[in-house]
Symmetry: C2
Subunit: 126 residues, 2 copies
Amino acid sequence: MMAWLDQVKWNSEGLVPVITQEASSGIVLMMAWMNSEALQNTVDERVAIYWSRSRARLWRKGETSGNTQKVKDISIDCDGDTLLLKVEQVGGIACHTGRHHCFFRRFEGGWSTVEPVLKDPNMLYD
Amino acid sequence: MMAWLDQVKWNSEGLVPVITQEASSGIVLMMAWMNSEALQNTVDERVAIYWSRSRARLWRKGETSGNTQKVKDISIDCDGDTLLLKVEQVGGIACHTGRHHCFFRRFEGGWSTVEPVLKDPNMLYD
């Protein structure tokens, strides 16, 4: 394994959490996971490629919808166990619910949905 | 358990990852974890209280340094398994290394430190 990949503190499943932020707006779009292959591919291709835990395979974000994420910057935290990606979100929709980002429920005594659906999610899942 | 707490998808250890973002700047300060008690206390007190996995106890951010995080907003993602906090970072230092935020190593072929230490970290650990 490359030295820089080996410096990442992968968890017991070989994964790290990845925070993905829109470079232009600063909006946190989503949180996902990568294994070392996903991170290597992301670096090589400069588009976000995650590890889908539910499907147990590499997940090229936007692979069906075309809503890919062009990677501008990758950072790692002090403990080496979390990554931060700054991306350009192609199509403006990061969430499989058809919203701009995934953190669309705000705590207001309970969880209130505060962001609109921009596109039919049946067209999107990826 | 309160209904809204029960709607959070706690992992097998009873935790969720928490992304903490500076409300004023949009900078992602850190990633940490909460259990249900930490989240309930955070909601009640409007300051960030995490679960420290290394110390296996509630961790009131800034408990020794005074660099607390005043919580302005709490959101949950589409899957209900990640939280996003928007905070005011008292003292301007979120990272135990004495830096403004924890994502101070950028990928440039390897991990390069690109943020200055603002305060002696020996004065800070919390």
